[in-house]
């Protein structure tokens, strides 16, 4: 009886919250052209950023500072997980190994998923996606290896410096922008050099968006792999 009561209480609460949210959304005018900022972006995105994907241009270029904040949030989350689950000596202690099918399958799929993750973040200025989904895909490749093998571990010695370097690289790109142009995260590759202006919409274009997305992809990938590692390793008792 208690569980039924609890459940119905939860459903009623959800309904109230849902109604409240719907009320809020009902006030938003759909289909009316009131988006002055959006219009500005759509008109100027190609000339100002060199990217054909307006969403990415907004995320990385116009709102690059926000994205830096997001990366920082992720970094803090990963550090938090690491601090919570920190032990002096850690080791994989999975109980059983996956079957030969799963092991071989994960080994064969691993390079493919890595390639695909790289494809996502390097094409951030052309297709949907970008650093965050690309990094998540790369982390999935490592996660699948973790699932299949008892004794697999990511190369910590490589990953931890890489994570730091990628984060520093983001700030560094922004600081170069500050030195050349007038503000932090100034798109110096596009605004100053006009690099890639001849081939808009091809791979080597889009100003510093591919550079930043590569850094974000590496950072997110290594960080999420680190989180997976922290979650799946346990303390060794001697």
């Amino acid at each position: 009886m208690v569980s039924v009561l609890k459940r119905s209480l939860a459903i009623i609460t959800l309904l109230i919250i849902g109604y409240w949210l719907a009320q809020g959304l009902a006030g938003v005018p759909f289909g009316q052209d009131r988006m002055l900022v959006g219009k500005y972006y759509l008109e100027n995105v190609k000339a100002q950023t060199g990217a054909v994907n307006a969403v990415t241009a907004i995320v990385v270029n116009y709102r690059g500072f926000d994205t830096l904040g997001e990366v920082t949030v992720l970094f803090i989350a990963s550090t938090g997980v690491g601090a919570l689950l920190w032990r002096r000596k850690k080791k994989r202690t999975a109980k059983t190994e996956g079957s030969v099918v799963l092991r071989t399958g994960s080994e064969l799929l691993f390079p493919f998923i890595l390639m695909f993750g790289t494809y996502i973040f390097i094409h951030g200025h052309l297709t949907p996606g970008g650093g965050f989904p690309g990094g998540a895909t790369i982390a999935t490749a490592f996660l699948i290896l973790y699932m299949a093998f008892v004794d697999y571990e990511i190369p910590h010695r490589l990953f931890e410096p890489l994570e730091g370097l990628a984060g520093m690289g983001y700030v560094l790109v922004g600081l170069i922008g500050l030195a050349i142009g007038s503000y932090f995260l100034f798109d110096w590759i596009w605004q100053t050099w006009h690099w890639g202006a001849a081939n808009l919409g091809r791979l080597f274009s889009g100003g510093f968006i591919p550079v930043i997305y590569t850094l974000i992809g590496l950072k997110v990938g290594t960080e999420l792999s680190g989180i997976v590692d922290s979650m799946l390793t346990e303390e060794v008792r001697e």
């Binding site: 079957s99 030969v100 099918v101 092991r103 071989t104 399958g105 080994e107 064969l108 691993f110 390079p111 493919f112 890595l114 390639m115 695909f116 790289t118 494809y119 390097i122 094409h123 081939n199 091809r202 791979l203 080597f204």
Partner: protein, 177 residues
């Protein structure tokens, strides 16, 4: 089956990854090709030990020909499997007689075992439950009389293997060894 030398394995991995890249981008733009080639060189440099053990030997014409022939054979088996499924699902009496049977395989390499298991999973009425060395344990939706009525373990394995693994092994033995 010995391992090929490192260069051959590396080269094979690069070739396969580069092909995957071309298919993934679906474009022949020169910039994409250059970047893809560099990326496959990089990714292959640390994934080749797990990706392949025979290297360029996989591209032997005989193997490629058998692999080409395997694709339509497998697709046909898969379509048959689905007609079988449709029959069992839509039949009002639901004709199933499930059980787990035991098969043996002659395949040695892990890749061969993987493709055999996947082929079994996608073909009529069978799904691979576990693989332990050369023993396959297969959940069968309709265990036929000849397997069910087998007197000894050996006869059971023989009958089950003839039904399930043999048709694929003809191809897979050549492709993966």
């Amino acid at each position: 089956m010995g391992e090929a030398n490192r260069f051959s394995r590396y080269a094979y991995t690069v070739i396969v990854l580069f092909l995957i890249w071309v298919l993934l981008t679906a474009s022949l733009d020169r910039q994409e090709l250059i970047f893809g080639f560099l990326l496959s060189l990089f990714v292959a440099s640390f994934t080749y030990p797990m990706f392949t053990s025979r290297g360029l030997g996989n591209l032997h014409p005989r193997r490629v020909a058998y692999a080409m022939a395997y694709v339509p054979y497998f697709l046909w088996a898969m379509i048959m499997a689905n007609l079988d499924v449709a029959y069992r699902v839509l039949h009002p009496k639901r004709p199933i007689r499930p059980g787990i049977v035991h098969c043996k395989t002659v395949l040695k390499s892990n890749t061969g075992k993987l493709s055999l298991a996947n082929s079994i999973t996608l073909t009529p009425g069978t799904i691979t439950l576990d693989v332990d060395g050369e023993d396959y344990f297969i959940h069968w939706i309709w265990v036929p009389d000849e397997v069910l009525g087998a007197k000894t373990e050996g006869e059971h394995v023989e009958n089950a293997s003839r039904n399930i693994t043999r048709p694929f092994e003809k191809f897979l033995k050549v492709i993966f060894g």
